[in-house]
């Protein structure tokens, strides 16, 4: 990626369409972050603006520079750094929702204090037109004193060229006179000592110092930079109280007062019911709403099973054919064995599950972009509060169905630390897409493909049961954990409900593509490495026993490792091969499948890649002659995977988000305990009830 001379920052309220605009400006030319353990808090993309490369920094959406949540604190701290001249962008694009200009401009006025050019991107201008909201851009620009106001629609790709042109002009401008919004003289006098402190300490401009003075008087501190001593602050608060300005709401009072004067009213009559309100009558109906929610979830899981069948078979067949082709092209030998049995067998076993993962991510993204997830949050808030969580916990928990990592990152929007911590702790119990390969393999091989209750497939139902088990356990444990953690702060719930929008398919597919690529590359790397090591362990030492290679695997290093832990896991119904899989999949769950694939491929006498589920069904205990895998073993193994903590990336992210080793360690301990006893109960209970 070429080095950019200029950088611009993209800021705006949540739901202002900031990310859609970022995607349009950068195209696919984006450094993907927000993923496993990377310390990046921001996404940086490259854009060609008037033929020169410009770096675009995308920050989390926020309502203000006074943070209520961790997510918003990132923006406030970054702003503090810019004020001090660290990586200050050349220009700020303030993304504003045209249908709610007044509230969105609040943040804009805070950004303008920095003294660098601010370009207002009046996004969703198509919706404003639809609602016949008139906005005079030229007047708004002059009254606020921003560099420019450009109407755009990220959805219709309208106004993008105008925006780019304006950005290129703004970059060359370098500095801008900050707004001189009116402050009553007594207030100005009261905050003057604080203002002087900022001017003296950081050599900030008068306006920037004044802005920080107002903020520190309001909330008692300023993020990202230091704040004055408490005697200085206390004196200021006293002065403000004397003149009848409660200091706690000083900043919003002053700024809104100014905005109310200069911004032309573009208000929808309060009585007018919006289209979203009408849709909500169905979607958040007292009992219809929750019913629709459950129905949607059931539909998604059924879709994962039924729709993915054809592409999965295609991938399965082509990998088997490719493996056989390679085996026939190359001379027999160690290298060919490694390639066919280790690498193709191992990686192939994972690729099969890509369709299911993509379908899951597709639906999750669709619902979120539609605006439905915010409704789920309010429908669930009461129930969530009952188990010690928050309405905002729902989205992270549901993201956990795709992957725990973005889910844990999404908890940053939860304001209370306690609710956030409990959400993080139980989140890995939500069955993520890495478990799908194991569920799918076991269900596909051992759960009969029949219909029950006339309509539901037994396989799909078993799948739903696994997700249900994880989810219910997560909720019960939330209750337990939150009763352990003490807190004095009362939590509140102020949440914006975005209007329903038809999701932009290109951005949905982009998300699906990005996640899918990450799954293949990230999981691929681990799986590749482990597959190679495993193949080696399973293939050596080579024993010359005359009666075929059957002997090899049972005396291999891999078997030794597996057999060492076999006594411990025998009560769960697991043999040494599964044991080995449990060991190798500690880093990542899906490795279980590739481990089994590699072992069975090495064991396979003929130089042919067979389907894993066939190999498992055929596998018999050499002593008793009984099947290694039975439906009960499969069930026990699935329950183990519902609970077990097997994901290095999750531990890393929990360590980072909680800033301590205590919580990831606690997570591993409690989840492993749950997994062992959960499996034990299923297997032993099943045996007692006469299942096999």
């Amino acid at each position: 990626m070429s080095k950019a001379k200029h950088s611009i920052a993209l800021l705006g309220n949540p739901n202002s369409g900031k990310t859609a605009l970022f995607n349009i400006l950068t195209g696919l030319n984006q450094k993907v972050s927000n993923y496993p353990g990377v310390t990046v808090e921001q996404t940086i993309g490259m854009a060609q603006i008037e033929n020169s490369p410009v770096a675009i920094i995308d920050l989390p959406g926020t309502y203000s520079l006074v943070p209520e949540s961790h997510d918003e604190a990132i923006v406030a701290e970054e702003f503090g750094k810019w004020a001090k001249g660290e990586n200050t962008p050349d220009c700020i694009i303030s993304v504003v929702d045209s249908t709610n200009v007044m509230r969105n401009l609040y943040l804009t006025t805070q950004l303008m204090d920095l003294g660098i050019p601010v370009v207002i991107a009046l996004n969703m201008i198509d919706l404003a037109r639809e609602k016949s909201l008139e906005i005079n851009c030229e007047k708004l620009k002059n009254d606020l004193g921003v560099f420019s106001v450009i109407p755009v629609s990220a959805r219709l790709k309208e106004g993008v060229n105008d925006l780019k042109k304006s950005i290129s002009q703004a970059i060359r401008r370098k500095s801008e006179t900050p707004p001189n919004f009116p402050i009553p003289a007594p207030v100005q006098n009261a905050i003057l000592p604080l203002q002087n402190w900022y001017e003296d300490t950081f050599q900030f401009s008068e306006f920037l110092s004044r802005s920080f003075a107002i903020r520190s008087a309001t909330v008692g501190s300023t993020n990202g930079i230091g704040s004055p001593d408490s005697p200085l602050m206390d004196a200021c608060k006293m002065d403000l109280k004397m003149i009848g300005f409660p200091h706690e709401t000083l900043e919003p009072t002053l700024r809104y007062h100014w905005l109310d004067q200069v911004v032309p009213k573009a208000e929808i009559p309060i009585e007018k019911r919006s289209r979203s309100e009408k849709m909500d009558e169905v979607l958040t109906h007292p009992w219809g709403g929750p019913l629709i929610f459950v129905g949607l979830l059931t539909f998604i899981f059924q879709a994962i099973f039924s729709w993915a069948g054809i592409p999965m078979n295609m991938i399965d067949n082509s990998i088997a054919r490719f493996g056989n082709w390679v085996a026939h092209q190359l001379p027999p030998g160690l290298l060919t064995d490694l390639l066919v049995e280790g690498i193709i067998g191992g990686a192939g076993a994972i690729l099969i599950f890509l369709p299911q993962i993509l379908i899951l991510i597709f639906f999750m993204t669709l619902l979120e972009d539609f605006g439905y997830m915010a409704r789920v949050a309010i429908m669930m808030d009461k129930a969530m509060t009952k188990v010690g969580l928050h309405g905002r916990s729902v989205l992270p928990l549901m993201s956990g169905y795709a992957c725990a990592i973005p889910g844990i990152m999404a908890t940053r929007t939860i304001e209370s630390w306690k609710e956030r911590l409990v959400t993080i702790l139980v989140l890995p119990l939500m069955s993520c897409s890495a478990r799908l390969p194991i569920y799918a393999l076991m269900i596909g091989a051992f759960i009969p493909n029949q219909t029950v209750f006339g309509y539901f497939g037994l396989q799909g139902l078993t799948m739903v049961l696994m997700y249900f088990l994880g989810t219910v356990t997560a909720l019960i444990l939330s209750l337990v954990f939150s009763s352990w953690i003490k807190t004095e702060k009362k939590s509140s719930f102020i949440m914006e409900l975005p209007p329903y929008r038809i999701p932009l398919m290109r951005s949905v597919f982009r998300q699906v593509y990005t996640r899918g690529k990450l799954f293949v590359t990230d999981a691929g790397k681990i799986i590749m490495a482990i597959s190679i090591v495993l193949w080696f362990l399973a293939s050596f030492p080579k024993v010359d026993s005359g009666n075929g290679q059957e002997q090899t695997i049972h005396s291999s290093y891999a078997a030794k490792i597996g057999k060492t832990i076999e006594p411990m896991i025998a009560p769960l119904g697991f043999d040494w091969k599964i044991g080995l899989g449990l060991v190798t999949s500690f880093a990542a769950r899906e490795v279980m499948v590739s481990t089994l694939a590699t072992i069975y491929n090495v064991e396979n006498v003929k130089d042919e890649v067979v389907s894993l589920s066939d190999a498992m069904k055929r596998d018999k205990d050499p002593l008793t002659g009984q099947n290694i895998f039975t439906p009960l073993v499969a069930l026990s193994l699935m329950v183990f995977y519902v609970y077990a903590a097997q994901c290095m990336a999750t531990f890393a992210i929990v360590k980072r988000e909680t800033n301590s080793w205590k919580w990831p360690v606690f997570m591993v301990v409690y989840m492993t305990g749950l997994a062992y006893f959960g499996s034990l109960i299923v297997y032993q209970g099943g045996l007692m009830m006469g299942f096999s």
């Binding site: 509230r103 573009a266 309100e277 909500d280 808030d381 009461k382 009362k490 719930f493 914006e496 409900l497």
Partner: protein
Amino acid sequence: MTLLDLATSQVGQITALHGDPGFRSRLMEMGFHKGIKVRMIQKMPFNGPVKIRVRNGMISLRQSDATNISVRLDV
């Protein structure tokens, strides 16, 4: 009366904000100000959150938070 006392689709005008400072200042940042009109859209069942129309936007608040907003009816 408070925001919570508004019946569904009833309009009121904000007269005061109460509650702890952080909460009040967040309410103001979200557009809740003295003199601003609000409309009750929906009260979720089982004393769940309420949905409010304020300044072109739809905001959801818990009932306990809604009682911290004083409103009057004659608008």
